[in-house]
Each structure stands twice: as C-alpha cells, then as structure tokens.
C-alpha cells in the first residue's frame, strides 16, 4: 500500500502541471492546482498508512516527550 501511495503522489504533481498548461484563467488554474496538491495529500496519507506499525492489542497511547532523566509529561 505504501508504494501505491507513493505512485499516486506524482500523479498529483502532473495534474498541477497540466493545470497551468491547460487553463489560462487564474481561478481555474488555482483550483486545479489545489486539486493536484489534494491528490498528493491523499497519496501521502496512503503511504503513511502503509508504513504504520501493526497493532494487535490496546490502541490507547500516552504521548510522552520531556527530557531524559526528568519526569515526562503523560
């Protein structure tokens, strides 16, 4: 699935390029370029999902950052 996502992303790029070649009118141009970026974002989403670590148990997480040695936020 990750490769499918990565293949969709160039399609969005070519859609954006096609927009500036095909549409002289600025509003249409901008709208189709936005569509191209949206396609890329969908491809990125698919690629991210394809790289997610499989989970078998409880899905709840606590976000923890802080500094080593200190008491982390949870």
């Amino acid at each position: 699935m990750k490769y499918a996502g990565l293949l969709v992303m160039p399609a969005g790029f070519f859609l954006s390029i096609a927009a500036i070649l095909l549409f002289p009118e600025p509003t249409f141009r901008a709208a189709f370029v936005v569509c191209g970026v949206a396609v890329e974002a969908m491809g990125l989403g698919v690629a991210i999902r394809g790289h997610m670590a499989p989970k078998t148990g409880r899905h709840g997480h606590a976000f923890v950052r802080g500094i080593e040695g200190g008491e982390p936020h949870a």
Partner: protein, 430 residues
C-alpha cells in the same frame, strides 16, 4: 535562450552578503546541537560526529557533481520545450567548480549559499534517524542528496530553473519564491527525514505490539535550547543573505527581514509554550524548542515578503500546529521521529511557502507557490524515498539490535560522549 539573469546587486549588498553567509553557518551548528540533545546520551558523540561527516561528504560531492547541475549563471541550462514553453530542468555549470575564482562575486556568493543550504539540509534527517541510523548509511544518504536531489531542486528554484520562471512563462507572480531555503533546505530535509524513519523503522521498543508507546525523551535540554539560541543568529543572517541574493532586496530592507524572522520564531515559541502548558500542565522544553525552530523555518519562506503582523501570524500557526502534529505522527501513525524534523522542517516549510503565496501582493503568486509545493510533495518526496530505499539495499540504514542496545557511540565509535557516566538501564529493552 539566455542565461538566468540573477537580481543585480550593488557593492554594498555584495559586501554585506559575505559576512551574513559566514554567520548563517551558526544555523547549522544550532540544528546539530538540537539533534544531539534530542537523541539519547549513548548516541550523542555519534550524532555530532555524524553531522560533521555528513556535511563533509555532502559538500565534496556537491562541489564535484552537484554544483554543475545547480548552476544558473554559467549558461542557458538544459531546456526542453513542451506545450510551447521552455522547461529549464538542469544547469550547465563547469565541472568540479572549474574557474570558480574567476567567476563574478555574486555567483561565488550564491554558490556559498548553496553549500550552506546543502549542509543544513543533510543534517535534518540525521536527527530523525537518531539512535538507530548507521553512520555509514547517513554519510551515503548525504552523498545521494548532494549529487541527485539538492542540485536539481536548487537549480529549479535558485538557478533560474522552471519553478523560478513560472512568472515569466505562465504569468504566475514572481515565479516560485523561496528566499531563505524553506523548500530547498527544510522541506527537502524534512522529506528526507520522513523517508529515513520509514525505511529505518522506529527505535526498538518504541511501538510495542500491545499497549502504550514507549517514552524515549531527549537527553540534554541545555543542548536543545542553546542550539535554538545559536540557530536564531544563523537564521537571522540566513534570511537576510537570501533576501539579498535571491530577491535582490536593498540593504535598507534587511532589518525588516531580521525583525520578521525574530517575530515568527517568538510567536511560534509562545504558541507552543501555551499549547503544551494546556495539554500537559507544564510547558515541554523539547517541544518548545521544536516550536521555536518551526517559527524560524516558516520565516525562511516569508520573512522578506510579509509584514510584521503577518510574520507573527505565520509563526503562531506554526507554533500551534507543530506540537499537535508531532503528537499525531507519533501516536496515530507510528512515526518515530526523535528530532521532530518531519513536523518542524517539512510541515513548517510547506506552511511558510503557502503563507508566502497567500500574503504576497502579486497576482498568481499563490498558484506559483502551490506548484512549488506540489513539486516537492509529488516529485521530490517519492524520488528521495526511491533513492533511499535503493541505498538501503547497498548500505543498510538500520544498526543491528546489539548496536541499538549498547548505543551508537559504543557500537560505532568505541567510546561514549560522556565516558565518566555509567550507561543506565533502559526499560524499553527486556
């Protein structure tokens, strides 16, 4: 076809650009310190040595190979024609910087800017691969970026390539604008970081099969926060030098660029401070540092193009979004990014580039910026991933489990950064 005509620079601008570029290297030092601090203590020496080694290899490869492609001043460049428009996709500079000393000072300064930009770009993924990315693989990836990715992106944007000429060929504002390297440095580096964390995978024990994700906090808040202060000096100089070289800004416009840079970072820090204070009860030092850097990254795109209130706004947005994105990437999509480079550099850079389009006065500038973003997302990210995935087959990215257990310092260098301390037990290894 004529060679790319760079903005003309006066004597004062040329005289200012050189010291600004020398100061800009402090941004690199700051990011290297932040990377080291956000990694674990048993990988700190490898982190700093790796930064130096990656920079060394990257600049040598760029001098020998990449500068030829990136060059925009020496000739008309490689151009193909499609749909009646010229598409300048690569430069035709001299091989191995031949005749550099005889080239105009402006060209030499632009080249120095590109060297520094490359040095910073290759450091960004290094922090994301902390504690498991092998030194040799990091160096090899820096060479790949310097030879095959950065030169093209740099030429397209700074060397009169097709993105820079969007204004001329398609009446899209002033073409794609990236004055301080938000695209060329930060988005490229952030996407490299994403590719590295995908290919190398999370640190062992970070995402157990069941239960909560494991906390693996950075080891030195002083490195992280002092790195941010050093980075500020570098960024101020960086954005001013970029405004001179790529925008042709007058010296009188430089103070406002510096003020916008500072405002953007300050607003981002204030926003992250507030968000983490609300979410965790106390402000988180490492996330606040990331917020500060996200504000600086955002300013790279738009500090010389927007007004001070807009700089504050762009910084605020970056500072609010960054900690939420770090949390989302870690918890929702299992991305183990110790330095937060994907959120700080990739997302911050993309936001800055889009904001530069939203707030620019020229018609069509927003579309030009979006096409730049589309190129980075749709072309550059898949290319980096493909190149890194191939490289991983030749030089495996991930250290073996024993190396990860004892730490990268002992495993790769034979000694730790803090030899007087005993390496403590880590609960993530059983």
């Amino acid at each position: 076809m004529i060679a790319f005509s760079a903005p003309p620079l006066g004597e004062v601008s040329l005289a200012l650009a050189l010291p600004l570029l020398l100061l800009a290297s402090l941004a690199i030092a700051g990011v290297a310190l932040v990377n080291a601090g956000l990694g674990r203590s048993r990988s700190a020496a490898q982190s700093i040595l790796g930064s130096l080694a990656m920079i060394s290899i990257a600049v040598i490869v760029f001098a020998l190979v990449g500068a030829t492609i990136a060059d925009g001043a020496a000739g008309p460049g490689h151009v193909f024609h499609f749909s009646g428009k010229p598409w300048n996709w690569a430069g035709t500079g001299p091989i191995a910087l031949n005749g550099l000393a005889l080239s105009p000072m402006r060209s030499q300064l632009a080249l120095l800017f590109e060297f520094l930009a490359l040095a910073l770009a290759v450091l960004i993924p290094w922090g994301s691969g902390a504690d498991r990315w092998r030194l040799s693989a990091g160096i090899a990836s820096a060479a790949v970026l310097a030879a095959l990715v950065f030169p093209f992106v740099s030429h397209w944007i700074w060397g009169g390539g097709w993105l820079a000429q969007l204004g001329l060929n398609f009446s899209l504002g002033s073409g794609f604008l990236d004055v301080g390297g938000a695209a060329t440095v930060h988005v490229l580096g952030g996407f490299s970081a994403l590719a590295v964390v995908w290919i190398a995978g999370p640190r062992r024990g970070k995402f157990p099969k069941e239960g909560l994700s494991t906390a693996m906090p950075g080891h030195n808040a002083v490195y992280i926060l002092f790195g941010c202060l050093i980075a500020l000096v570098g960024w101020l100089a960086w954005n001013m030098a970029g405004a001179l070289l790529w925008l042709g800004a007058a010296p009188s416009a430089l103070p406002s660029t510096a003020i916008n840079t500072l405002l953007s970072a300050a607003a981002a820090l204030a926003a992250t401070f507030t968000v983490t204070r609300i979410r965790f009860g106390k402000p988180d030092a490492s996330l606040c540092a990331n917020g500060w850097l996200a504000g600086l990254v955002t300013s790279s795109a738009c500090a010389s193009l927007v007004s001070p209130p807009t700089a504050i706004f762009t910084g605020l947005v970056a500072g609010i979004a960054m900690p939420l994105l770090v949390e989302f990437l870690e918890l929702a999509v299992s991305i183990d990014d110790p330095s937060g480079a994907v959120s700080v550099h990739a997302a911050g850079g993309l936001w800055g580039l889009i904001a530069a389009g939203i707030f620019a006065p020229q018609p069509g500038q927003f579309t030009a910026q979006l096409i730049g973003v589309a190129t980075l997302l749709g072309l550059v990210l898949p290319l980096i991933y493909l190149l890194f995935a191939l490289l991983n087959r030749v030089v495996p990215f991930r250290v073996d489990p024993d190396g990860e257990r004892i730490g990268m310092d002992l495993h790769e260098l034979g000694g730790g950064a803090y030899p007087e301390f005993v390496v403590h037990r880590d609960d993530s290894y059983h």
